[in-house]
């Protein structure tokens, strides 16, 4: 893939930039939605990293007298059934949700890309075998697949990431394989062969970069889905185990029982999940455009 000379690119786009910050400001002006997405993600990443500094209560400490306390000046987002501060749990939950979301998306996407690229580019029996494997994986719904994996691996943060990433492999493998099939017939691939480039290098340097656009869109959509799957797994006791705060479990635990009596238990974790999904989608669209020379103009 070409190394993008951002300085030259920016100058060509008419940006008057002399520092990293003004370059950032330029991108923000050019892709306002992407900037919003980046800001949302930055907020959550910040919360995840500095969780102890921006919360007043321990997310695991229970307090029976505060059970189902309404949002107040002391507990901004209220307390749950066990009297744990919801705000603290959401802030600490960002660590788990982001770790699962980003980890599973990258792991599953990476394996999917490897399978999709090699099966699409090299074809033959490799393609046949890989595609049948993908068929099997895909014959089960995403959630059932993740359940199956999680159940066999046992509940823990690592296993949740692995379980979900396996469930994510088929879609990215399919997307990459589909674009690879059309790309490998293009003449720049033949031209690369004519100059004596090895097949693996052609696949990585000429084919892979051109499959990025759909992959990034898929990846950002999957990041959201991943957090939701984690929620389901945790709800069923197969995900991140209690008492660690996970947005998904906070949401699903309280959705049935407390939605009428203590709606803050449902609303705030739900908002956190929606915000992250929304943010990743906005950011993903902008990243796709920035990485595509044709969109950069």
């Amino acid at each position: 893939m070409s190394t993008v000379d951002f300085r030259a690119e920016l100058a060509k786009a008419g940006a008057n930039v002399d520092s990293r910050w003004s370059a950032l400001a330029f991108f923000a002006r050019r892709y306002p939605l992407g900037a919003i997405g980046a800001a949302i993600m930055a907020l959550f990443v910040f919360a995840a990293i500095f969780a102890p500094l921006i919360t007043l209560y321990d997310p695991l400490t229970t307090n029976a007298s505060l059970s189902l306390a309404r949002p107040s000046a002391a507990h901004w987002l209220g307390c749950d059934f066990m009297g744990r501060d919801v705000y603290s749990r959401i802030v600490y939950g960002a660590r788990i949700s982001l770790a699962v979301g980003i980890g599973a998306t990258l792991l599953g996407g990476g394996i999917g890309v490897l399978i999709g690229l090699s099966s699409g580019y090299f074809g033959g029996w490799l393609d046949l075998a890989a595609q049948r494997l993908i068929d099997i994986l895909q014959s089960l719904p995403l959630i059932v697949m993740a359940l199956l994996m999680a159940a066999s691996l046992g509940p823990s943060l690592h296993n949740t990431i692995i379980a979900i990433s396996i469930a994510l492999i088929p879609s990215s493998a399919r997307v990459v394989r589909a674009s690879t099939l059309s790309l490998r017939e293009l003449q720049f691939v033949e031209a690369a062969r004519a100059i004596g480039m090895s097949e693996v290098r052609i696949a990585v340097r000429h084919v892979l970069p051109n499959t990025l656009a759909p992959l990034i869109v898929l990846g950002t959509a999957q990041l959201g889905a991943t957090i939701l799957i984690e929620a389901t797994l945790s709800f069923l006791g197969l995900g991140v185990p209690e008492p660690h705060p996970s947005w998904g479990r906070m949401l699903s635990e309280s959705a049935a029982e407390y939605v009428r009596t203590a709606p803050w238990l449902v609303i705030f974790p739900g908002l956190a999940i929606s915000a992250v999904v929304f943010g990743t989608n906005l950011l993903g669209d902008a990243v796709r455009d920035i990485l595509d020379p044709r969109q950069r103009g």
């Binding site: 893939m1 070409s2 000379d5 030259a8 293009l186 003449q187 720049f188 033949e190 031209a191 690369a192 062969r193 004519a194 100059i195 004596g196 480039m197 090895s198 000429h206 970069p209 051109n210 595509d292 020379p293 044709r294």
Partner: protein, 339 residues
Amino acid sequence: MPSTANALNLRPPESAPAAAAPVVEVAGLRKYFPLKKGLLRRTAGYVRAVDDVSFAIARGETLGLVGESGCGKSTVARTLMRLIEPTAGSIKINGQDVTRLGKRALRPHRRQMQIIFQDPFSSLNPRMTAGDIVGEPLKIHGLTQSRARHERVAELFEQVGLRAQQINSFPHQFSGGQRQRICIARALALSPQLIVADEPVSALDVSIQAQVINLMMDLQRQKQLSYLFIAHDLAVVEHISHRVAVMYLGRIVEYADKATLFTDPRHPYTEALLAAVPVPNPRIARKKLLLPGDVPSPVNPPPGCSFHTRCPYAEARCRIERPLLREVAPGHHVACHLR
């Protein structure tokens, strides 16, 4: 007789071209694509895309290869470049047989031959800058130092008439003609002796075609390049070629030097092709020679002369016996029973 001839010919005549080995020599080249049918992918037959094609190209010479769509021109180009494997025949580059060389062994020979494709839009990777595209062959063949590579790329840009400032531009920022110049620069990067040009101007506007053709001819003069120039546009082929070969259904049916072929075509197919070239003068009455029917399928080529189904002169013999290429005049080869 041989001894006297040798005695008299101690020195070759001054005017004769250096009788060096041809840059490329193709003999009996065949490419059959298997047709797979049914669940078990049995081979049900073969598409005879290229069937016994032989030619040689000398240093600094252009061989034009013409014929209608689907006659196997591009397959000849791709097989010659070893982008697809030949079914039979041999390809010699500078006297060395490269037909059966493995990938690694072939790599040094790739420097000797490069290809330019028809579609300047799909032949450049949209995500690489023009400079990276042109520099890539250099990188593969060991010019890894980026400063030196950059200098060479700038030099190549100048040679093909692109501005050095355009090095960091992406393919979509160029016009079709400029993109074809980038392709030419990439092909030139390794200083090859042979460039296979597979319809290099067919996708371009007429005014741009002339520029690209002239560029190719200038480069040929400067660098003593040999071209295999594939086209279906006879005017273009006449302009650039020294010799011309006409292909029909995977075979060469006639080949001669340019002047002979265009003034004295022997094969009925060549006649028909030439008669179809538009003449930019409405007063000149032209011999109408419309060929009936379509090109037969290369899966099931007709017996005898493959052209007999459309030939206005076909006789009984043509339907049975395949005519071989024979020399009807010095350097003029025709595969026809009647001429």
